[in-house]
Every structure is written in C-alpha cells, then in structure tokens.
C-alpha cells in the first residue's frame, strides 16, 4: 500500500533539494521514520548523508524528528508513525536541533 507523506525540512535542506515548502513523497508499506527517509533520499538523492550518516545510517546529531507534535527522535526508526502521518493529515517534521548560529 502506498501512502502520500508530507515532510517539512529545514530551509537549508529545502535549498539543497531545490524545493519550496513541504514535500510530498510516496512511501510503500508501513510508514516509519526509516521508510520516510528512504523514500525522501530516493526522490532527492542530494539529501543522502545530510540527515543520516552515509555509512552507519545513524541520525546526524543535531537533527530531530517530530510527528503530530511528539518528539520521535529517540524512538526506533522502524516504529510505526501515527495514522495522521500515514494519511498525510499531519506533516512529518525534520528539525535542526539548535536554531540560528
């Protein structure tokens, strides 16, 4: 089953990807943080390595993830996300951990 996910990224990543505002990506199967990021990096290969480390696949230290107002940064990347994310009713947020600088 395909889900249409809305993803909100920091401004610098939007610039790199050449997009404005949120992006819509199709995710096949269960909607998790990992499946969203896999689909995002497939659609926007220039983002590979900017959210997750190239080799380890680990989250870069200064990035956090939010879903439906909840901080899911430290949840398992394979944990299912809320139905509101899977349905596209709510956006999945990728956020820089520190503003400014």
């Amino acid at each position: 089953m395909m889900s249409m996910i809305r993803v909100v990224m920091p401004a610098h990543l939007r610039t790199l990807a050449g997009v404005k505002g949120d992006v819509k990506i199709e995710v096949e199967g269960e909607v998790t943080r990992a499946s969203i990021l896999d689909a995002l990096e497939t659609q926007y290969p220039m983002l590979r390595g900017t959210i997750r480390e190239h080799v380890s696949g680990e989250r870069r230290p200064f990035l956090r993830f939010f879903a439906c107002g909840e901080d899911v940064t430290h949840n398992s990347p394979d944990a299912p996300l809320p139905q509101e994310i899977a349905s596209g009713a709510e956006e999945f947020y990728i956020i820089g951990a520190i503003a400014g600088g």
């Binding site: 401004a11 610098h12 990543l13 050449g18 990096e41 390595g49 190239h54 080799v55 200064f62």
Partner: protein, 395 residues
C-alpha cells in the same frame, strides 16, 4: 588583457569577485550556498570554468558542489534528482558527498585510531573537507583534504571519492592529534615537474610526501622544532599551518608552522628556520610570488593565544630573499585597532605580469594588491569571516 576571478569561502557562503587586469574595480557575486560554511573553492588549472566548492554544516554534513561555468551555476556532481541511487544490480551510483575511510584489509589496513587532545586514542571520524586541489591536467580529477585527516581523490568530477589510504596507514597515524581547529589535512601541493609527487600537511601531524602518486608516503619534518610537544624534534606531531611552493622551483618549499617560518631546499627532506626579523613568527598563511620564487609573503599573528596582528597593525611581511630578511607592507592596510586573523587558506597570488596578492580576514575583508604587495585596497569589507581565498587569472 587578462581578467581575474577571486574565489572566497566564508563562514556563511561563497563569494566570487571579478575584475579586469587593473584590479581596481570589482564585481561581487554571492553569497552562493548562503548560510553554509564554505571551507574552500578552487578552480581547475586545466579548465578554469570548472570550480569545486566544499560546503559544510554541523547540522547537515558535507556537500561537494561543482560549477562548469565559472561559478554562474552550481550542482552536486552525484546522482541527479529523480534517478535511482543504485544500479539495477544494487551497486551504489555516484554519491558526491560520500567520504568513507578505506578500511579494506588489502589497502586500508587499518589504522583506526589517532590521538585525542589528551593523548587518549580516538577513532577516525569524517567531519568535513578543508581543502580541494584540482589536478593540473584533468578537470575531472580532484583531491580533497579532510578532517579527520586523510586524502581523498575523485577521478570523475567529484561524483565519487576514494581515500588514498597509504597516507593514514604509512605508520605514524596513531600519533597524529588535532590542532585547535581539528585534525585536518589542509594543504595539498601537486608538483608540476614531477607528476607522481604530492605534498600534504596536517595539523597537528606535520608534512608528508609521496613520490608514487599517493600509494606510499613518508613524513618530511626533519628540522621542525615544536616546544609544545613532548619531543620537540619528533618525526610527527608538529602543527604545520600551511606550505607554499613556486611551480618553477620543484624542491623549494616554504612553511608557516604554528610558530616559525621555515624553508626546505630538498623537497621537504630537511627544513631550516627563516623567520629572521619578523615581529612574531606565529601565523597561518604563507605564499610565493608568481614570478619570483624567492619572494614570499606571510601575515604575522601575535601568538597562539592571541590570534590577531601585533600592536593592532595589519601588516603583510615580504621577503625578497627567500626568508630571513623581511619588510612590512602597510600601504592601504589598517595600522591601528585591527584585531582580525588571516586563516591558513586565505591568501593567494595571481599570475598577471604584475603579480597580484590577495588575502581575506576573519573580519570579512578581502584585500588585494595588484603590485606584489606594495599597495593594498579592500575589494570588500563586510563579508562573513573569510576561510579561504583563491584566485584565477583568466585570458
């Protein structure tokens, strides 16, 4: 008449400054990659419109950018958007931002730790590209000096990068340690007369040379003396800040070390100090006049604890004798209340008949001298802190 193009990397983007051969009036383009740290931008000697830029961020990591039109437009040279990142048989395609240390048992043999500031061992961890050095002959071949210190090479225009592991693995890597700015490989010199010879410098490990295109390496630090390490004359561990070389003089190198300005007349096999009458021999930049291999430039900085010019006077010092005898160059430079720094990759010379000299400061000024240092004027005054300056002479 030739034109010049100055490539400036700053803490918050890249800027391209262009002028005609008079170098009096300048056009300023930028910021490119606004908001990102641009450690270095450099053009290919083989195709001046081919530029490479190192774009980095503590949040988002390392990006390599490339321009094929002299900086008008840029792109990441990896897989284009919308295309799969793997081949049908599952092999990864070009990923221009991927720098992975060689850990194969055949070639990477692995040296997995270096020293941390406190002497404990720490694993190598890629952080960013400090310096990009395009090949002298081939626009698609380019070297990258990275932190944690290693040398990478791309032979496909930056699409993919592979480590030259002989450098880290030659035997002293476990003794390298970071300088204040990190453990970075910041200097790469390709020898135009001996294409298999490459010099690199690492802070704080020292200088190294290969004579077989990067397969094997040896430290070249004999004659360096550093009071701040347990053995001041150790084979490695010296905080070399920058090395410069004139293309016509294959065996002569000039070095600005943490403290001391040094010279080698035998391709780095031995060094001797040429600080002479400098007001302080601490500093970061060093460069050589384009047409006179014995004319060199430094910007003395007060000390390792006070990174600004002595007495608040920004002075470039020039030696016309290959060191030891230095004269201050002050015409057009601020001579009071100036407390900026000039970082290691932030000086360059052009190859016009009257050699131009350029440097950028942590205060955001880029100064140019169209007459070999006799007079100076700012091209721009209020950029973000300048990390690097390169210049191209364009016919």
């Amino acid at each position: 008449m030739s034109n010049v193009r100055v490539l400036v990397g700053t803490r918050k983007g890249a800027f391209i400054l262009t002028s005609d051969g008079k170098r009096e009036k300048w056009d300023v383009s930028g910021p490119h990659f606004a908001g990102w740290e641009i450690y270095h931008v450099k053009g290919s000697p083989a195709d001046p419109n081919r530029l490479y830029a190192s774009q980095t961020s503590g949040w988002f990591g390392q990006i390599i950018q490339r321009s094929d039109d002299g900086g008008k437009t840029w792109f990441q040279p990896g897989t284009p958007a919308g295309e799969p990142t793997t081949t049908p048989d599952g092999m990864p395609k070009g990923e221009s931002n991927k720098f992975v240390y060689d850990s194969s048992s055949e070639t990477g043999k692995p040296l997995t730790t270096h020293q941390w500031y406190d002497g404990t061992s720490k694993p190598w961890e890629f952080k960013r590209v400090w310096h990009i050095e395009p090949s002298l002959d081939d626009p698609d071949t380019v070297y990258a000096g990275v932190e944690d210190a290693a040398l990478f090479r791309s032979t496909n225009g930056g699409q993919t990068w592979a480590e030259l592991p002989g450098l880290r693995g030659h035997g002293t890597g476990s003794q390298w340690q970071p300088g204040a700015g990190g453990m970075c490989l910041h200097t790469i010199i390709l020898d135009p007369k001996n294409r298999e010879r490459i010099f690199v410098a690492i802070s704080a490990a020292g200088a190294f040379r290969t004579d077989d295109s990067g397969t094997t390496w040896k430290p070249i630090n004999r004659g360096l003396h550093s009071q701040y390490i347990p053995d001041p004359a150790a084979e490695v561990g010296h905080c070399v800040h920058h090395i410069a070389k004139h293309p016509s003089n294959p065996n002569v190198l000039f070095m600005q070390k943490h403290w001391d300005v040094l010279r080698s007349d035998d391709a780095g096999d031995s060094w001797h100090e040429v600080s002479g009458n400098l007001p302080t021999d601490f500093g970061f930049v060093i460069d050589v006049h384009a047409h006179d291999p014995e004319t060199i430039y430094v910007v003395p900085i007060k000390s390792d604890g006070e990174h600004y010019p002595p007495d608040g006077k920004l002075r470039v010092y020039r030696s016309r004798t290959g060191g030891n005898e230095w004269e201050p160059l002050t015409n057009g430079l601020p001579q009071s209340n100036c407390y900026v720094n000039v970082l290691r990759d932030a000086m360059a010379v052009d190859t016009l008949d009257s050699c131009g000299v350029y440097f950028g400061t942590t205060g955001g000024q880029v100064y140019a001298s169209p007459d070999g240092g006799d007079s100076w004027a700012p091209i721009v005054r209020d950029l973000p802190p300048v990390l690097s300056v390169e210049v191209q002479a364009l016919s």
